[in-house]
Symmetry: C2
Subunit: 515 residues, 2 copies
């Protein structure tokens, strides 16, 4: 893995002030997106993959999918050779896959700071934070409706997280802002408070267009037409249904060469069969139809094949996370996506727990590990998810973001160079010795092992004297420290003024709506 670290943006100043700043500043280095130097884990055999692919084509041909309230989409499908009956689109065997073949296998999503641009696809993994929670939680304030102030804090935390490559989208819902205007404040926050890449709005086609218009200000209109500057989340209404709001946003983004994650949204047992193979079949059919549609809108427009998958607790009906069945599906979709030569989105810091406790961490670690090994290229929800996605947790955000460092180090693979083989060290130390002082250790110890910046490694006595803090308490302190030391990344003041004017004008142009 090439892991270029972009220059630190620490405070500058002469002499003692500089040294004090150096000691107290929180690092805002960002690791380059992960380039895997490790194999993927493949749970399905070639034969199983062929069965699922055949079955998915059968679903598209015989059952079909619904494109709801969208006559233009039906026209596009009809022209491409599908059978249309009402809103039902039946797609002849092989057609969807053929249409998908014009989608690129990878694309660059540009950030306003070119050092933060990411490549989505191939062996890469881009990590983005939690998306969508209406609530936030922290140790002091408990669980409460999210506000724009919370949203901005999360964007700042994301900007300061070394292992997070992407600023994300709706990190939480700013419920204090009208529904029809909050996308403007969210985009503004991502654009001004961070210099990492971000996501566009999908809750109305007009809001997707606002996203494009604001990007035109930030990047220049010509740059936006020729490059991808947003990756946005288009969920499919599983089973087999494409609604006009999401498809309308997709149409805007595809027409403007902006990337969409096209993602079946599955709670297994409710929106898909209880079985893994059945769910994989449905996910593939839905992804094929959605991605093919993006290519009907504009061939060559960048897309990511998504899969949001949880299973259901059949006793209570609650969605469950980090489960073995979700892992089977995540690994399986990875294999299917690679056979389509498409970037893949799945996994995340998923958990059902109400608190950032052991349950949350077990479930999250299960999902993060499988995300890395399943070949995910874009991991939304990589940090901060709590309570089945209802809550964005400040503490869990920094806890998960710290764990993402372990993924980076694992993805490096095993160094088989002469230095990695360390035969000199084994000879130097010999039987019964120790390696702490040997030459090889002295040369390598700084970079040898991943080290958490959050977790407790102290001796018991020290830890006990310092208050016997658990992970949540350590994370709470880290959140405060990060927010206290946050400094806005530089942005041309004229661009910032034009963005603020766009938002103000747009807000003034329509009445508030909370629907």
């Amino acid at each position: 893995m090439t892991e270029t670290i972009s220059p630190s943006r620490r405070a500058r100043g002469g002499g003692g002030a500089a040294r004090r700043a150096e000691r107290t500043a929180v690092s805002v280095e960002t690791a380059k997106y992960i380039e895997r130097n490790i194999p993927n884990y493949e749970v399905l055999t070639e034969e199983a993959l062929q069965v699922i692919e055949r079955n998915a084509e059968t679903v598209l041909e015989e059952i079909g999918v619904n494109f709801v309230d969208n006559p233009a989409a039906l026209d596009r499908w009809r022209a491409a050779g599908a059978q249309i009956e009402g809103e039902r689109v039946r797609i002849p065997r092989g057609l969807a896959r053929k249409l998908c073949s014009t989608a690129p296998s990878e694309y660059i999503q540009h950030a306003r700071n070119p050092e933060r641009s990411v490549v989505v696809g191939g062996k890469n993994l881009v990590l983005a934070p939690v998306y969508g929670p209406p609530f936030v939680r922290d140790a002091e304030g408990g669980r409460r409706y999210a506000t724009l102030d919370d949203f901005e804090k999360f964007v700042k935390l994301g900007y300061m997280s070394k292992w997070l490559h992407h600023s994300g989208g709706t990190v939480c819902e700013p419920t204090d802002i009208p529904v029809n205007k909050r996308h403007l404040d969210m985009l503004l926050a991502h654009m001004i408070l961070s210099d990492k890449p971000f996501m566009g709005s999908v809750t109305e086609p007009s809001r997707a267009q606002d996203s494009i218009d604001m990007c035109n200000i930030l990047f220049g209109a010509e740059f936006v037409q020729n490059n991808t500057v947003m990756t946005s989340l288009i969920n499919i209404n599983s089973p087999l249904t494409f609604d006009s709001v999401m498809m309308g946003a997709l149409e805007v983004f595809a027409a403007n060469n902006q990337a969409s994650i096209i993602s079946p949204f599955i709670v297994g047992g409710a929106m898909a069969p209880t079985s893994v193979a059945g769910t994989l079949t449905q996910v593939l059919a839905e992804a094929l139809a959605g991605i093919a549609y993006s290519q009907l809108v504009r061939p060559g427009s960048p897309v990511v094949m998504g899969a949001f998958v949880t299973s259901i607790d059949m006793n209570s009906g609650a969605p469950t996370f980090g489960t073995p069945e979700a892992s089977h599906i995540t690994y399986g979709v990875g294999q299917l996506a690679r056979r389509m030569n498409l970037p893949y989105r799945s996994a995340g810091s998923f958990c059902g727990s109400k608190l950032p406790d052991a349950q949350a961490a077990y479930e999250t670690a299960n999902s993060l590990n499988m995300g890395l090994l399943s070949g995910v290229n874009f991991m939304l929800h990589a940090c901060g998810w709590l309570e089945g996605g209802l809550v964005a947790s400040f503490e869990k955000f920094v806890m998960d973001a710290d764990q993402l460092g372990a993924l980076h180090h694992f993805a490096k693979g095993v160094d088989m160079s002469e230095n990695g083989q360390a035969m000199d060290a084994i000879a130097e130390v010999g039987p019964g010795g120790h390696f702490l002082g040997c030459a090889h250790t002295q040369q390598n110890f700084k970079s040898a092992f991943w080290r958490s910046e959050l977790l407790d490694y102290k001796p018991f006595e020290t830890w006990d004297e310092e208050g016997a803090r658990d992970t949540q308490a350590l994370a709470s302190a880290r959140v405060k420290r990060l927010l206290d030391t946050y400094r806005q990344p530089p942005l041309d003041p004229e661009i910032e003024a034009r963005l603020r004017a766009y938002v103000a004008d747009k807000k003034a142009s329509m009445p508030d709506s909370f629907m």
Copy 2:
């Protein structure tokens, strides 16, 4: 995976009493050991494996290993063709590997209840609890020195854990019992309070012999000579040193056809190089020498190739757990062990945290997942480990033991039968429907998804009204409930009396020693 569940041992009684018992009884079903129906994850290329194997042979030939205070071992090695110089044994290239080839690729470890016998090796995974902590912790009593009472409670919890196949060994150190006598009480507890397989004592060759003698009472002497009834833990003093205490115990077990896990004990950066490839080389060299020695004692005696590996925090010197470097090593040793056609022991509920909190769970989940995917056959420490192994945690024991259920379900692999494909369900439900009521769901929902017996899946409001408990609090209640409902598995009273008499006589035969 074949997952034969042995019959429930619930309380019996007529009518209402039976129904009440049914409702309140804690299940003591035990799942059969895991038979993987999934591939292993292989982090090393063929070329890398060959480099490591070549380097390990170079280490054995040119550097050699020390067999300390053990003239008989030196004689055995000399007779086999090794070069002896003082206590140093240099092993010609290829000799150790050739000697290892007489070790079986798998073996049955018999339990006194035949339904609990396990097969160690092949595609199987046997799960055993934490081993060795001098301290225990629970929510009520905090951290304190372990006693025999604690030990017995852990054996009971292990017996009642559905996903734990093995009763383990020194689940915690009963520090209130003299060092030279506590092995007797530990063996007695495993033999009487559980009917799962267990481990022998290794802290003195005479204590290994006591383990054999007590097994002769429990199983019959002839059965013990012809079958394996213990798997015991022989650690190597890394780097490259074999002490006479551990080798003495190995000699007793091998001579009696009992299995030993031969395990380098590595804190990377201290007992091995800071690099993964260097550590793998040393682990392989040490395992080759130790396993070869077991076959010199008795060709064909069962052994497990072990690797206990953590890395070190180079800032504080503390061992760290669940790290990416430990994962690389665990996956790599799995590949090396399979190339030797030997059972493999590694991974566990490893963590450095002082509390059963999120840190503990992240680190543990990282290790448990990699243990499953790396092809581990015997996972010691699969539940209950806390604070770098200094502490056995009652709450974490049941938390981890619950997570082990997820490993069982993942290991089943993906059902590709017609029922698994679920094409009828997708057709029945169609676009926009839901699967909760469809025929396929009704037929499959009971077994479709793994379900935690511990974690919280409740709606927020219910959870909040019930006291907003975190995972530790839920686990604390579960520990109490399990211990309250524990019932000793049936054992021939005459055998129990003979075991108790053996322990009493042995204790009376020597003065207490706490050294």
